[in-house]
């Protein structure tokens, strides 16, 4: 690749790169246009026409129908990009610069926004009547009055469960640190882009981490409560897994955003990769790392309370039990305790992070 480039004249290299980029943008633009048209057709047909105008309870579904819509959008999308007046052509900078483009882009953007909002309104079944019905308001009054008269009889148990929750969060955060540290260097683009093998490692790790992160801790807790049994251990592992995946991303972004000057200077001395990382990268990322980790502990305390709801131990499990029995006075005490602890953690972590910088 590099060798063939060296033989070419510089001007032809530039021309070739431009051509490649234009081709690539055209393909991206066609795909996006097809998606736009397909999306609008589906939303207009299913949400607005079937559900709202015809007010059908069971919406008819057939693959043939979807296929026909897809065919239409492929043809329309391609033609639209080809005419160079489409929204995506504009987004990728290959559109014609005339009034037709301007109008189509403007009208179609508004159209997309509006059908999305209307479809969202229909799907969410927003109802002002339900919100203000007298029956509903009575129910709300009952619960609220109970919540604000907490039952202090269970305070000892609740305190113990709360401490368990804080330790779950703390352990998940502490154990995550060494793993995250190592992972973050392998998922930082600027350190891994140099050769193909390291870039492949970077890419695979990123995909795995993105996947792990996209599964909420609540779902991890369900998985681990089956794996290791219901209890605080399941909750801790669930938090740990998610903490590693999210912090590895934050850490590696901190590595990607470092000043390049010191890296240049250290590599100009003939230092090897490990020395460059140790002297030019590490000193720049220690503080952000510390800050992220403390913040994550704060987040984990909140998450740990939620995770208890599905059997992850701690105060969440207790909350779930009393809620199931509809004992709102006990629930009230637990909610107040959670609110207090979260507020304290939030305050402490903010103060520590301020002091660091």
């Amino acid at each position: 690749m590099i060798d063939t480039e060296l033989e070419l004249q510089p001007h032809s290299i530039i021309a070739r790169r431009k051509e490649k980029e234009a081709k690539f943008n055209f393909i991206k633009s066609v795909l996006l246009d097809i998606f736009f048209v397909f999306y609008s057709l589906v939303v207009v047909q299913r949400a607005i026409y079937y559900k709202f105008i015809l007010n059908l309870r069971d919406i008819p579904f057939s693959w043939n129908n979807i296929l026909i819509l897809l065919m239409i959008s492929i043809i329309a999308g391609y033609a639209w990009t080809y005419s160079k007046t489409s929204l995506s052509a504009r987004l990728f900078g290959i559109s014609k610069d005339n009034n037709v483009t301007k109008w189509t882009v403007e009208i179609f953007s508004w159209f997309l926004f509006n059908i999305t909002f209307i479809a969202g309104w229909i799907v969410t079944r927003i109802s002002i009547i339900d919100l203000f019905s007298s029956e509903g308001i009575q129910g709300a009054e009952r619960i609220f009055s109970a919540l604000f008269q907490p039952q202090l009889g269970i305070f000892d148990d609740a305190l113990f469960a709360m401490i368990e929750t804080i330790y779950i969060a703390l352990l998940a955060t502490l154990i995550s640190i060494p793993v995250t540290l190592i992972l973050s260097f392998f998922t930082a683009r600027n350190l891994m882009k140099e050769n193909k093998i390291s870039f492949a490692v970077y890419y695979i790790l990123r995909i795995i981490l993105n996947f792990v992160r996209s599964i909420e801790p609540l779902i991890w807790a369900i998985i681990f409560s089956v794996w290791v049994g219901i209890g605080p251990f399941a909750g801790m592992i669930a938090l740990l897994v998610h903490t590693i995946a999210s912090n590895a991303k934050l850490y590696s972004e901190a590595i990607e955003n470092i000043e390049t000057g010191p890296v240049e200077a250290i590599s100009a001395t003939g230092a090897n990769k490990i020395q460059i990382v140790w002297y030019a990268v590490v000193p720049q990322i220690i503080l952000p790392f510390l800050s992220f980790t403390i913040y994550r502990w704060d987040i984990n305390v909140r998450m740990a309370t939620i995770i208890g709801l599905v059997g992850g131990g701690g105060i969440g499990t207790m909350l779930m039990q009393y809620q199931g029995l509809a004992r709102w006075h006990e629930v009230g005490l637990l909610v107040l305790m959670i609110a207090f602890v979260v507020w304290v953690m939030d305050y402490i972590s903010a103060k520590i992070r301020e002091a660091i910088y």
Partner: protein, 253 residues
């Protein structure tokens, strides 16, 4: 012949053609100054010499050897023989001056010694000698980023001296300093060039500094060499050609 650059081209991924066939030679002991407007390719040129940037085509010969395509250990050995000083100093902030100077020696230290900062007595002595050379021995234990700009640049010079460089590259070393400090920093480059015999290749903006310190001048314009000669021969006409019709010379003392 210490250094030879042949028909060097650099095209960035953005499509910018920063160097368009630059060729020149540098003899041992020279103080070569590269001038030109911002964006004329001066920084790219220096970085292509020690391969901080990979040239697109052309050749760089250092000590008679083609170094354009060397890799790994060989590349690091070459880099350790070429010192470099930057406009923004590029020190490790939050670490001491001494540690910053010691990083100049990394090319000849093992991973273990450097990561655990086990520097031998010889290396430490060398670091203090080099700090003394640039006159800031007493700041050795201070945090590097708390020093003044001029002092930080002197730390950077001491760091590059740790490499015992055959050639010292300086990328606009005084561009972020005030005029008085600029002159004193330039005097250290002169001292290194005259007393230690180290070849210096330096990007500069101010012509008065060029006339005072350069033994030879190259001018770049839009990636091409448009002037090569003695600093004293740059007259009004050349000045306008290099810096454009509207430019006026600013005196710096």
């Amino acid at each position: 012949m210490l250094l030879e650059v042949q028909n060097l081209h650099k095209i960035y991924n953005s499509g910018t053609h920063a160097l368009k066939g630059v060729s020149f030679k540098v003899d041992e002991g020279e103080f070569l100054v590269v001038i030109g407007l911002s964006g004329s390719g001066k920084s790219t040129l220096l970085r292509c010499i020690n391969r901080l940037i990979e040239p697109t085509s052309g050749k760089v010969k250092f000590l008679g050897k083609d170094i354009t395509h060397i890799r790994g250990e060989e590349l690091r050995k070459m880099k350790s023989q070429i010192g470099m000083v930057f406009q923004q100093f590029n020190l490790i902030k939050r670490r001491s001056v001494l540690i910053n100077v010691l990083t100049g020696k990394l090319g000849s230290l093992g991973v273990f010694e450097s990561v655990f900062e086990r520097f031998s007595a010889d290396v430490l002595r060398e670091a203090y000698t080099n700090l003394e050379r640039v006159g800031i021995k007493e700041t050795a234990n201070n945090r590097a980023d708390l020093l003044s700009g001029g002092q930080q640049q002197r730390v950077a010079i001491a760091r590059s001296l740790m490499q015992n460089p055959k050639v010292l590259l300086a990328d606009e070393p005084v561009a972020s300093l005030d005029p008085a400090t600029s002159n004193s920093v330039m005097q250290y480059f002169e001292k290194i060039n005259k007393e230690m015999g180290t070849t210096v290749i330096c990007n500069l903006h101010f012509l008065s500094l060029v006339r005072r310190y350069a033994s030879r001048v190259i001018a770049l314009k839009a990636g091409e060499i448009i002037y090569e000669g003695m600093p004293g021969d740059i007259n009004e006409t050349w000045f306008k050609t290099i810096y454009g019709e509207d430019a006026e010379e600013v005196e710096i003392r």
